[in-house]
């Protein structure tokens, strides 16, 4: 690679990492967003769904545009749009404005990522090397996403997640501007011009299913940790960082198994196994989420790389087929979120109801004064009513604590028992969704099985 090409490669990798990390960064901010914008879990999910939906729809057309008008210009304009929309996201004070800005941001992102795929082979010298840089950038973004998202949400605000993307996108756009100017001046488009072949149906279908399962894993786990178990965004970010770290471990395994179909099948099984583990957590303890996360992390690394290689293998141009893989992955995320959100929000409601009853039973069966216990039971109920549609918090119902030390100790013990019931309810509320996500991962085994025999 020429020295002059390095800033451009770095800029392209930064652009890809930034856009593809966007989902995982934002997941950590969702609980904060839905509290601040006073919406529901279903409502706030659209901050994620809208972005992924637009990328899914726009990836292939954006790749075609990049090939027609020039990838440099497309990437530069895409990054500028991504930055501008990011600013709008950061300034949004209503959910509808935020979602609209996210759609525009996704349009810019789709243009930037697919154009980057078109530019990379010419910049690094080969399509294979370009695919490696592109995959590494995406993986790094996904790995850093949760930690950065959690850190910014807790230390600054959820808005900062979007605002910080503005200068990063503009920095990435600077070296690409030179390509854009060159294109404008000479009319030369750096991408190779070849006839587009058909996308690999089974590999892309499997990618969509596995992505649905993986998105559910990250999204549901973050909600469980922050809203169910009351972890701070930074703590939750640390916990879910296990998944991308395990993915790095999995990528080493990738190099040791050449057979793509076996890697894809093993990855899908591990993702499903990890999700099933999360569905059957025997206690509300962070440590117990780690083994399932390790399975999901290793699994996603195996399955995503194998399916992407299968989808791109022997197909040209890579940008278009890369566009199809981006489209499939993001469509999968959308399907996963759309299918599972209503299920787990209904479950949260049911479990909330069961947990309130179980908690009230604990209060009623306790030896404390009946007057105090009935008052507590009502305060608990009122507190939980105000959090309809959300996983409840119980502390305010127990404030102020009785001044009598004996009564205070009894009330604190009660609060602990009640919290246990709520933890049980919150954890159990996610079980069905994790099981369904695990099933999605297993269903992906069918297209994976067909991916070599029937090469569509």
């Amino acid at each position: 690679m020429e020295t002059s090409a390095r800033p451009r490669v770095a800029a392209l990798a930064l652009a890809v990492g930034l856009v593809l990390a966007d989902s995982s960064i934002v997941v950590l901010a969702l609980p904060e967003i839905y509290r601040e914008l006073d919406t529901s879990i279903s409502g706030v999910t659209w901050v994620l769904i809208s972005f992924n939906l637009v990328i899914a729809l726009a990836a292939v057309p954006a790749a075609l545009v990049a090939r027609k008008v020039g990838p440099g210009r497309t990437a530069a304009v895409g990054l500028a749009v991504f930055a501008g929309a990011g600013l709008a996201c950061g300034l949004a004070d209503e959910l509808s404005t935020l979602i609209a800005a996210r759609c525009v941001q996704a349009l810019g992102g789709a243009a930037a990522v697919t154009a980057a795929l078109e530019l990379l082979p010419a910049t690094v010298g080969s399509e294979r090397r370009a695919a490696t840089v592109w995959a590494a950038a995406g993986a790094t973004g996904a790995a850093l996403g949760p930690a950065v998202g959690g850190l910014l949400t807790e230390l600054v605000s959820w808005q900062s997640i979007f605002l910080i993307q503005v200068p990063v996108a503009l920095i990435a756009a600077v070296p690409i501007l030179a390509v854009a100017k060159h294109e404008a001046a000479t009319g030369i488009i750096e991408a190779e011009v070849r006839r587009t072949g058909r996308p690999h149906l089974w590999a892309n279908l499997a990618l969509a299913m596995v992505s649905a399962a993986i998105a559910a894993a990250l999204f549901l786990l973050v909600l469980l940790l922050i809203e169910g178990w009351r972890l701070s965004p930074i703590e939750a970010a640390l916990v879910v960082s296990v998944m991308p770290l395990a993915a790095i471990l999995g990528s080493r395994m990738t190099e040791r198994v050449a057979d793509e179909r076996s890697r894809a099948a093993a990855g899908a099984i591990l993702v499903s196994g990890g999700l099933a583990g999360l569905a059957f957590l025997p206690k509300a303890t962070i440590a117990l989420t780690l083994p399932p996360q390790i399975l999901v992390g290793i699994g996603l690394s195996l399955v995503l790389s194998a399916l992407t290689e299968t989808a791109l293998g022997g197909r040209a141009p890579q940008a278009i087929h890369g566009g199809w893989t981006i489209s499939s992955r993001h469509a999968g995320v959308v399907i996963g979120l759309l299918a599972l959100t209503p299920i787990f929000t209904a479950e949260i409601d049911q479990q909330r109801h069961d947990a309130i009853n179980a908690g009230t039973a604990v209060v009623l069966d306790s030896p404390i004064n009946p007057l105090l216990k009935l008052d507590l039971a009502e305060k608990v109920s009122a507190q939980l009513e105000t959090e309809k549609g959300k996983v409840p918090t119980i502390e305010p119902a127990f404030e102020p604590k009785p001044s009598d030390p004996g009564e205070r100790a009894e009330v604190e013990q009660l609060q602990g028992e009640l919290q246990d019931q709520l933890d049980r309810g919150a954890t159990h509320a996610f079980s069905t969704s994790f099981i369904l996500a695990a099933l999605l991962g297993l269903i992906a085994l069918f297209p994976i099985g067909l991916s070599r025999r029937v090469d569509l």
């Binding site: 890697r263 399975l295 004064n369 109920s381 009122a382 049980r424």
Partner: protein
């Protein structure tokens, strides 16, 4: 698959299946399938008294019996009724959610109080001489007072004891 340091695809798939099954099996064995809120008891099922000693303990059991009895009659959980009776706002929410008006509520709470008196008598916490007039009293009291009896069973039982106790002493003097 050949080559040093390489894994066969079959081994990788088998390893993935084993790892997944071990994890899920271990979590299920540790109680993963039953980690959910405890189920609440049917209020129509009898809830035996646990040999109360002090007036406070009797009042506690009395409240629970009364709630069970009323909840059973209304077809709601004891827990939902307890939350409803604590404050007027709680009662409003209860009425809205279950469509139960004050008349139905009063009838059910009176029935609950009768069950509580029955249970107290059966457990030996109330003598029959106090239980009989007490049962008559709670059958006709207005709703607000009935709710107060449940919420503050200790005062209710203390008053009953101080009011009916001398009469009981008098009757006992004439009994063989």
């Amino acid at each position: 698959m050949s080559g040093k340091g390489r894994l066969s695809g079959r081994m990788l798939v088998i390893g993935s299946i084993v790892a997944s099954l071990v994890l899920v099996g271990a979590y299920l064995a540790a109680g993963g399938s039953s980690y959910e809120p405890e189920k609440t008891q049917n209020p129509c099922q009898p809830r035996p008294w646990s040999n109360p000693q002090s007036l406070g303990q009797i009042a506690n059991q009395f409240t629970i019996s009364a709630l069970d009895g009323a909840a059973c009659q209304l077809g709601v959980s004891r827990e939902a009724l307890a939350r409803a009776l604590a404050t007027p706002e709680g009662r409003e929410r209860f009425e809205k959610r279950y469509g139960i008006d004050d008349e139905k509520l009063a009838k059910a709470i009176r029935a609950g109080l009768v069950r509580a008196v029955d249970d107290a008598e059966e457990a030996g916490a109330l003598s029959p001489l106090i239980a009989v007039p007490l049962r008559q009293t709670v059958r006709n009291i207005p709703l607000e007072q009935a709710i107060e009896f449940i919420n503050d069973a200790e005062s209710f039982l203390t008053n009953a004891e101080s009011f009916l106790g001398p009469a009981q002493d008098l009757i006992e003097q004439f009994l063989p």
